[in-house]
Every structure is written in C-alpha cells, then in structure tokens.
C-alpha cells in the first residue's frame, strides 16, 4: 500500500489531521446540544474537547486493525473548521471499516458532509482496500439517515431498544456499503494506460 497523502483535497474542503490549536473551533460545534444528542462520548466542556483532540491528533493512519483515521473538515475559502470525519479499521480478517462524522449544525445541509464522506469512502475502498463500510446512527437523526441514503448505503439493521443510550432506550440504525456497490467499475478504471493490452 502506498503511503497516505494528507491533506485530502475535495472541491470545497481540505481534510487534514487535527492540530492542537483546533480546540476553540471544535468546541464551537461539538459542545452544542444538537451535536451532543447523538454522540457516544459526551464533550460538554472545552477540557473534554481538548482531551478528544489530543486523541484525534494521533489518528493519522491505519497501520493496525483497531486504529482510526480522523480528519478535520476545513473549508478552503475561509479556512474555517466545520466538522470531522473518521474511518476505523474495525476488522482485518474480513476487511471491515466503520465511518463516523459530525458537523457544525450551522454548516449542515450544504453538501459538505457528502463531499467529505465521499472522499473518505473512496480512500477506504481504493487506498485501504476495505471490503465493507458501516455507519451507525440514532433512528431520530433524520439528517444522518438522509445522508446515508444519498450516499447509496443500504439500511442493514434497525435495532429497537437493544441498549440504553444516554439513559433512554435506544433506536439504532446500521447502514452499510460493499466495495463493489460503491463503485462497480473502479477496477476497470484503475488500470494505468500502459498496462492495457491493446
């Protein structure tokens, strides 16, 4: 596997590793109730965010199963940090990955997550050779559900009250996409010109 080149550039965003100085920018959205509502590990105060960034700063590649790659979404025009995406290599034997994301609610609905996740999923399948990617989300998170459908994920699981989440019965959805579903023709397009027979 060739080495991973960061940052990843998309039409409107730079996806780059987190830096120490990102605490204020991340706190601005991460501590909002609308974001906290669907997050597994609460970050209510700046100290929580600083601790989270200390962890995320080191998540810059996938060398071993269990590791996570986490990238900040930075808007090219004004260099504003508007969200985050991550890819966890959850299982090496079966090449499984899990994607997570969060965005500043003020910046949602503008296609930024679609753009960032498309780039991250391309990376997962093309660079890291993941076979299947799954995304978990709360059943009440309509924005996430729409986003998954837009990206072409299948709804694989709809758990009702299978665990407690933030003190209440949960409703959890699992979405998934297989490599061949994501880009059926990728293997053909990948061949460099000089390797073709004719």
């Amino acid at each position: 596997m060739s080495s991973l080149r960061l940052p990843v550039e998309t039409a409107h965003l730079l996806l780059r590793p987190f830096e120490r100085g990102d605490v204020d920018a991340v706190s601005r959205y991460h501590t909002l109730p609308a974001v906290q509502r669907y997050i597994e590990r609460p970050t209510r105060y700046d100290e929580d965010v600083a601790a989270a960034i200390a962890v995320m700063r080191k998540q810059v590649g996938l060398q071993r199963p269990g590791e996570t790659l986490t990238l900040a979404m930075v808007r090219k025009g004004d260099h504003r940090l508007i969200g985050q995406v991550s890819l966890k290599w959850s299982d090496a034997t079966a090449s499984q990955g899990e994607v997570r994301f969060a965005i500043d609610p003020a910046q949602s609905g503008k296609g930024y997550l679609t753009e960032a996740l498309t780039a991250l999923i391309d990376l997962a399948f093309d660079h890291f050779r993941i076979h299947r990617i799954m995304v978990r989300c709360d059943g009440r998170s309509h924005h996430s559900v729409k986003l998954m459908q837009k990206l072409g994920f299948r709804l694989e699981a709809h758990y009702r009250e299978h665990a407690l989440f933030q003190g209440e019965w949960d409703e959890e959805l699992h979405f998934a996409v297989l490599d061949r579903e994501w880009r059926p023709s990728a293997k053909v397009l990948e061949l460099p010109l000089r390797d073709r027979v004719a």
């Binding site: 079966a94 299947r132 694989e156 699981a157 709809h158 009250e161 299978h162 407690l164 019965w169 998934a176």
Partner: protein, 192 residues
C-alpha cells in the same frame, strides 16, 4: 434478573431439562451431522466433542451474571426421545437483553417441537428473567430457522451482508428480535 428455574419445564408435548452424561449418544446423533452443522459456528462434532460439550452444559442451568446461559435438552413427554436443544443467553444485564437459540434433530423437524420449546423459553425470558428484549440470529440461507423466528412473533431487525467471514466464505446474517411489550400483547391480545 438472576434466574435459576426449577426443572423440568413442561409444555404440552415436551419436557425441557438440563443435559446429563447419558445424553451423549442422542446429541451426537444430530450434532455429528453435516446438515445440522452447516449454519452453526461449530463444525460437525465427534462423539468425544459431544461428551465435552455436555459436560460444560451440565452447569449451564441458570443466569447469575452477564454472559451466562441456560442450555436445555428437549425431549418428548410421551416417549422420552431427545429431539434437540434450546438456549437462552443473558447478553446484557443493564439493558435486560437475551439471546435465544435452538438446534433440532432433522428426524424430528416439522412437528412444531422447536416452536413449542422456543415459546416456553420466551415465556421464561420475559417472565421470571424479566428481560426487555430477546433476539435470535441465523444464516440468511437457513430459511426454516428464520421462519420459526417469524412464527415466534419476532421482527427482522438486521440483514447483514458480508460483514464477517463464515466457514471460509462471506456471511449473510439475519437478526430477529421481540420486545417485552410485543410478547405481552401476543400472549394476552385482549388486554391492549
């Protein structure tokens, strides 16, 4: 809550009781078969492996802590023939979750025994064990198994494709589940 039921559990036609050393041959007669093992995590078992499995099961008769399981031999009340086994696993204490499972001898399938035994275990799980949700899972190709889950009133909650390797190939797995409220309304339809 912790559960140490008194055995045997009786249904119309069946007696469900802990395994004993005398069950080795009867268990080997179905767990040794390729057709039975096809959709189980274990390969077909040898007679020695059956003896070992039964030795472990003689203690699997109650739920004291998370991960504990009750595994019971199912035999007919009239002839005393061992027709299969059922299990209930305590998956989460905090969220009161349980998992139901069964394996039946092919010669005794199609008579509703699995349905009768599994229903008795659902009653135990939602009754004395006070569970909130009970789930079961199977290979998507194992139609008799998921048909039974549907007859038990369980809903298909998940259909995983290629999310793990199973016996050298990609898996396809169904999860079915039933909530306490759903079980209550199926047992006492007039009360709701």
């Amino acid at each position: 809550m912790a559960l140490h039921p008194e055995f045997p559990l009786l249904t119309d036609r069946l007696r469900m009781r802990p395994f004993t050393r005398g069950d080795v041959d009867a268990v080997f007669d179905y767990r040794g078969r390729e057709a039975v093992a096809r959709y189980l995590f274990d390969p077909p078992l040898s007679r020695d492996e059956c003896a070992l499995a039964i030795q472990q099961r003689t203690n699997q008769t109650g739920l004291s802590e998370e991960g504990d399981r009750i595994v019971l031999a199912v035999e007919t009340r009239d002839a005393g023939v061992l027709v299969g086994e059922v299990s209930l696993i305590w998956r989460s204490v905090e969220a009161r979750q349980g998992e139901l499972g069964w394996i039946f001898h092919p010669d005794h399938q199609g008579r509703g025994y699995a349905s009768e035994a599994a229903n008795a275990l659902l009653d135990l799980g939602f009754g004395a064990a006070d569970l909130h949700r009970i789930f079961a899972r199977c290979d998507a190709r194992n139609e008799p198994s998921w048909r039974l889950m549907e007859r038990l009133g369980m809903r298909r909650e998940a259909h995983f494709r290629q999310h793990a390797l199973f016996k050298g190939g990609w898996d396809e797995e169904f999860y079915y589940a039933i909530l306490r409220d759903e079980w209550l309304s199926s047992r006492h339809p007039g009360d709701f």
